[in-house]
Structure formats: C-alpha cells, structure tokens
C-alpha cells in the first residue's frame, strides 16, 4: 500500500523545491543591493512596527513565495493525488493547505528548500490523516465487556475483519466473543462460525433471517455472564442509501449500546468511499475505521479520503487473507514513509 503514492509524491516534492528555487533566484537579484547593515539594537522610536520590519528585512533577507511560483507543481500534485484514488474533495483540501502554507512563506534564504517542502507536505498529510487508534489501550481503560460494532457496505470484508480482530485480541491476552449479526447474507453465519472455530473464539448466532439486534444483544449478555473482555459484533453489509437498513443499524446500536462503532471499508474504493463514510457516520456514528484489502492497493488514497471526510482515526489495515494479516495503523509512520525521512 502507498508505494506508488510515495514514488509520485517524492517527484512532486522535488518539483516544488525546484520552483521555489527558481522563484528564489529571481527574487535574490533585485534584493541583493539592499544590504545596509542597520544595527540590530536600534533604539525603539515610533512604535515597534517599522523597526521590526527593518529588522526582519535586513537580518533575514527572505523570500516571499507567490501562488504563481508553485501553481504548476500544485496542479501536478493534484493529478497525482487523484490518480492515487484520493477523492476530489480531499485533494482540494490537501492542495489548499499546501498552497496556503507555502504562499507568502517568509523563508529565510539559505535554509534548505527541501526541508520547507517536506515540512509543508507532511503537515498537509498529517492534517488529513489524524491520529491512529490504540484498541488495546482503549479496552484497558474501559469497563468490560467492551462492545465493538462493525458496520460498512456490502463486500468490504467486515466478517473477515471481525475474525482478524478477534485473533489479534486473543493474541494480546483478551477473551473475545463474536456476535454473528449478519443474518441476511446466505452463508454468512457459516462463514463466521468457521472463522471463529479456526481462531478459537465462541460465536453467538441465530438462524438465517433472525433479528440482528437480538443476536447481538445475546452476545453482549453472554459476555457479561461469562466475564468476557470484548464483544465483536458483525453486521450485514448495507448501502447507506437504504433508509430501512440504516434504521435497522440504528436499532442495533440502540439495543447493544456499543462502546466503539468501527466502520469497515476497502482501500481500493474510489470517490464513493467519501460519500458512504459520511453517510454511515451521520447515521450511526463512527469511532474508528478499518481499511481492508490494503494489500491489493499500492495507492492508498481511500485512507486519506475517508479520514479527511469524517475526521475519525484509522485503527487497522487489513493486508491479506490470513488471520495475522492485520496491522495497527500509525499515521506518523505512513507520513514519514510517504514523504521520506531525508527528503
């Protein structure tokens, strides 16, 4: 994941650096003769304003970037982000931040151009990616059983994710029970059962077609009776534009009162990722996001789009078909990875 985005971003970084350098060369010529070394500690006369101006101007001899200087590079950045599946609205936000940060920058001549560009890019990306989410820390600091509800549209990998998270938690020493709340899709119950057996976790399930709220309520009760740490509640995939199904989800939330609502989407989704993340967030709320199928995507734009839209942290990335193929998401590491440590 993110490989192709990284390569391209580094290209833009250089381009941006170059256009700044160009602007600098142009700017440095006329400003060169002004070099009168005014003593720094001029007695303060008429207000601080003028003095400060002179001070800044003389001491630092800086360069002010205009929007024009970086327009081309930004346009290219925009396309690169789009090609990497970042949704249009998120692209606008990122490019906007960079434009805002860079234009009118009072940059000291002499300080490294790369450093400035890197800092701006990192700032813009971290701005949208936000913080990660520490699940085990959350469980430790809350009353047991901690109830986690998984939501999302059809086919994003909710059931598999529930199994993976169960395996992850078990490995970290927590007891887990799964509520098989997908009572709609044919075979979903069997799928969940098989997963749970393999992972070695108890699963609470009813028949096909049963009320999911009842199943998940039972799962919570079971956990309470058996002093189990975490309840993972699977639900049927549903489209955000189906009012009835969203109401059903709302009912589930009311009945089982989850501590955490986790929204699951796939890393390969395009612009629609933004729309549905937003709708789910509006309907039942979202506390954290899991991105699945990150291994089939070298781009990773969906991560940026979703987090930008709903402003909720990404908790895990699903990176393969095995139960161990789930990694906690750390924005700092990814931003460093994308932009490059050294620049």
């Amino acid at each position: 994941m993110f490989d192709s985005l990284r390569d391209r971003l580094q290209g833009v970084q250089q381009k941006l650096g170059l256009s700044i350098k160009k602007a600098e060369e142009m700017a440095s010529e006329p400003s060169a003769p002004v070099k009168t070394p005014t003593p720094e500690k001029t007695p303060k006369k008429s207000g601080g304003k003028l003095v400060d101006k002179v001070k800044v101007f003389v001491r630092d001899r800086e360069l002010v970037l205009t929007e024009k200087d970086i327009a081309d590079s930004l346009e290219e950045l925009e396309l690169i982000l789009l090609e990497n599946d970042v949704a249009l609205s998120a692209v606008d936000a990122i490019v906007g931040t960079i434009r805002h940060d860079l234009t009118g920058t009072h940059r000291k001549i002499g300080s490294s151009i790369d450093a400035v560009v890197e800092k701006t890019l990192k700032h813009a990306l971290r701005d949208v990616l936000g913080e990660g989410f520490d699940l085990t820390g959350y469980i430790d600091s809350h009353d047991r059983p901690v109830r986690v509800l998984f939501t999302g549209v059809n086919g994003t990998g909710k059931t598999t994710t529930v199994a993976k998270v169960a395996a992850y938690l078990k490995e970290h020493g927590y007891s887990v029970v799964i509520g098989s709340g997908d009572t709609f899709r044919a075979g979903a119950n069997e799928q969940m059962k098989t997963h749970a057996d393999r992972v070695g976790v108890k699963v609470i399930r009813h028949q096909h077609g049963a009320d999911p709220s009842a199943v998940l309520f039972d799962a919570v009760e079971y956990a309470r009776a058996h002093k189990i740490d975490v309840v993972l509640a699977d639900t049927a995939g549903r489209f955000h534009n189906r009012a009835n199904l969203m109401n059903q989800l709302e009912k589930i939330r009311r009945v089982m009162k989850p501590d955490l609502v986790v929204y699951v989407d796939e890393a390969v989704a395009g612009n629609d990722a933004v729309i549905r993340a937003d709708e789910f967030n509006a309907a039942v709320g979202t506390d954290a996001v899991v991105l699945t199928k990150a291994d089939m995507d070298t781009k990773g734009g969906a991560a940026i789009s979703i987090v930008h839209t709903i402003g909720k942290p990404i908790m895990f990335l699903g990176v393969g078909q095995g139960y161990g193929d789930i990694i906690p998401f750390s924005p700092d590491r990814i931003v460093d990875d994308l932009v490059g440590e050294s620049g």
């Binding site: 249009l88 086919g155 044919a186 799928q191 059962k193 955000h240 390969v268 549905r276 089939m296």
Partner: protein
C-alpha cells in the same frame, strides 16, 4: 444510480445553453466540469485526460451541422466520445456455454453468479453452477442457499482444497446443462499463485466466456487489476455490481477500456432478480439526463403481458379507473418506482430523492381506495358523487380528501393520455412525464 454523475454533466452542459457561437472559454469550462464529474465518478485519470482532449479538439474544429444549435452539437460530441469510451456492448448469447467468473474479493461474484443463473433460467436454458471457491468459509453454503431459492443445481465440495478437481468433477456432474457458471474465489492481481489458479481453471473448464466482476465503487485501481486479469485469462466481459449504492461505476469503464471488452450486466440490488442487461447507449443517455427508454421497454416486455394493460383501448381514449389500477400494478411489477423513473426520459428534470418513497406509498394508498369502489364506479368514474366518496373513504380506511386526490390524479392521467394520442411523438410523452412529476 448514476444520478450524481448525471447531474454533474447536466450542470456542465447547461452553461452552453445560451451560447450561439462556440467559444474556447465556454468549451474549456465545459471540459473542466466534465473532467471533474468523471474523476469524481472514478473514471481513470488518463482516460479522462484523453477524452477531454478529443472533445475539446472536436468541439472547436468541427462545424456544427446546419440547424443544430451549439449546445446540441457539443452534446453530441460529448455523447459520441463517451460511447466510444464504453466500448462495444458485449453480446449475451443464449445457448450452451460455460462462464468463468473472476474478480477481487468482495466484489460480489457469488451473488452475481446466482443472479446470472436466474437470468439464463428465465430465458429457458438449463443452468447449473459450480462453486470453485475453496478459500472463503461459507462460500459454498451461500451459493447453495441462493441456488435452492431458484431451483438451480449447485455443485461444490466443501472441505476440498483443490479447485481444479472440483471444476473437473463439477463439469462432469452438470454435463446435462446448457449453461454452466463457475464461481471462483476472490483474488487480486498481486497474488501470483491465485492468478495461476484461475489460468488453470480457465484451461480445465474451456470456458466460453470469462467475465470480470467489478464493484461500482472500485477506484483508479480498476485499471491495473483489469489489465492483470486480462493478461491472465483474456476477459471478454465486465459485470458491474452494487450499482444501487451511490457509486458511479467509473472504475468499470477503466476495466472496459483495458480489456477491450464491454459491460454485460449491471447488478443493482440484493435480491436474485436484480440484474439488468447493459446497453452503452442507454447508460450514457442516463448520464446525460436523456432517459433510457430502451432499457425500460426491455424490462416492461418481460413482465407486462397484454392483458395487464390494454394499450390500444387507452390510446382510443377509453381510460377508466380500472385501467389505472392495472397500470399501477404493472408499474409495481416492474420494480421499485425509483428504478422505473430512472429509465424514463424526464428531460433533465430533477426528482428529489425522498419523492420516490412518498410516491410509492401513495400508489399503494390509491390502490386501497380503488379496492373499495364498485365495478360500476371503476368503469365509469363520473358517477362518483359526494356520498359515494364518503362511502369509499370509509371502506378503504381513508379520508374523503384522499379519494378526491385520487380522482384528480385520474383526470390528470386521462388528459395526459389524450395528449399522447394527439401528438403521438416523443414530445407529448415528455409532457406526460412532467405531469406525473407534478403529482
């Protein structure tokens, strides 16, 4: 469905409406809006760039034919370019064949397999399916469950981990069937061993068709994935799934252009019947707000029999409440009102989202009201007086206001149909639809 992309394009085209000469600024603006609309619909960036270049070039260079307005001229160019982007419509041949399904995890292969089986079954072909998904738990149960609903034989060997063997056995087992559909496990282009597997399955099954299932929400990734699948087993058709969400399916276009194939079917709902034939002209017409009459006719032809609606009598001007009742039932059979309306030529008219639900409910209420009428009243609505209205309302558990509303609606319909008879052209049809929308 595609309404969001549609409205984006409509906005872009509206800007050209008042113009008499094609000027560069207007075209640039249109192309920029078009680009944004297409990018938001997940169409591949490179495709969008190529498309907008050629639209720009043609719009500025080609002279509009005499009598054609600037807007229509540009619209036609946009339309033609979009059609060429979609490629040819892939033919579905109704005869003995083996279809191999391929696609990413969670794209909807298993559901679509069952829907396809239903499609061929309805066309009168003996159909069987093989579940070659040896990885996902519950995959066989899922397919079996779906197939039982429609009485389709489903072959699978749960627990066996050799897909090659399952397909071999399955083909032998289902030899008496004309159409065999093989569902496979989800895989993506970077998993080499799974790509090898599907190459083998293709050889073993001697598949007539290899169809790629694409989630409508798939983004820029669609292009690379489609290319890899195409290299492996030469895809000859694309199925778009989950078109009932808000995703616009632009990723599928990348897949089409990459595989040089066409879109075969569109999946647009969770039940086994929700599969539509794809028609590129109709698809774009819908994008541009021109309506898709062809798809509607195809759908209507399948469900409505002659006795349901006596079109000729209606055109002669004899339109009673009884006819309206039948008509409503027919509309109900065609599926949710929303889907039907999406296919009608509403001339770029916007219908608010929640209006669909309300109208659907209203239709239902109207039917209850009509159920309380006597045959005489149904055949000759003019006899319905104040006291009759009161009686009908009581019988239907409704209010006199609602009965009057229904009668008003009936008169509107009657007038609209008279108008259609008069002009007979598309124009009147449109006017009729406007009247519908006004309700």
């Amino acid at each position: 469905m595609l309404d969001r992309l549609g409205s984006g394009l409509k906005d872009a085209l509206k800007k050209l409406a008042g113009k008499t000469v094609i000027d560069k600024v207007a075209v640039d603006e249109l192309v920029r809006d078009l680009q944004r609309a297409l990018l938001q619909a997940d169409v591949n960036v490179k495709l969008v760039m190529a498309l907008s270049q050629s639209i720009k070039k043609r719009a500025l260079e080609e002279e509009p034919p005499k009598g054609m307005g600037v807007r229509e001229h540009v619209l036609r160019i946009v339309y033609e370019e979009l059609v060429s982007l979609m490629g040819q419509s892939a033919e579905v041949h109704l005869g003995p064949q083996t279809i191999l399904m391929a696609g990413l995890q969670g794209s909807g292969k298993t559901t679509t397999t069952a829907k396809l089986a239903r499609y061929f079954q309805r066309k009168g072909l003996r159909t069987g399916v093989i579940c070659a998904d040896i990885f996902r738990p519950g995959a066989y149960d899922q397919l079996l469950h779906l197939c039982r609903q429609i009485n389709i034989p489903c072959y699978g060997e749960p627990g066996v981990t050799d897909a090659d063997q399952i397909v071999k056995n399955g083909l032998a087992e289902l030899a008496g069937n004309e159409v065999i559909i093989i569902d496979t496990q989800g895989r993506h282009a970077l998993e080499d061993n799974l790509i090898d597997e599907i190459v083998r399955l293709n050889v073993i099954s001697k598949a007539t068709h290899r169809w790629l299932v694409i989630d409508a929400a798939l983004g820029q990734q669609a292009r690379d994935q489609a290319r890899r699948f195409h290299e492996a087993i030469s895809i000859d058709g694309v199925l778009i799934t989950k078109m009932d969400g808000t995703a616009k399916g632009g990723g599928a276009l990348s897949a089409v252009s990459e595989t040089k194939s066409g879109i075969v079917f569109i999946g647009s709902g969770e039940t086994i019947e929700d599969l539509e034939r794809f028609d590129p002209n109709g698809f774009i017409s819908r994008l541009l707000g021109m309506g898709d009459l062809k798809a509607l006719v195809e759908r209507a032809g399948e469900v409505i029999t002659d006795e349901d609606v006596d079109v000729n009598a209606m055109l002669r001007g004899k339109f009673t409440l009884r006819d309206m009742y039948k008509q409503m039932e027919a509309v109900k059979k065609m599926g949710p009102l929303k889907q039907v309306l999406g296919m009608l030529p509403l001339g770029g008219m916007e219908i608010p989202q929640d209006a669909f639900d309300v109208t659907g409910q209203k239709m239902e209420r109207y039917r209850f009201v009509m159920d309380s009428m006597t045959p005489a009243e149904l055949d000759n609505p003019s006899i319905i007086s104040g006291s009759r209205i009161h009686r009908i309302a009581l019988g239907a558990g409704s209010t006199p206001e609602e009965v009057r509303e229904l009668l008003k609606y009936y008169k509107k319909m009657q007038r609209a149909l008279k108008g259609m008879r008069g002009g007979g052209g598309k124009f009147n049809m449109q006017r009729m639809m406007k009247k519908f929308g006004g309700m």
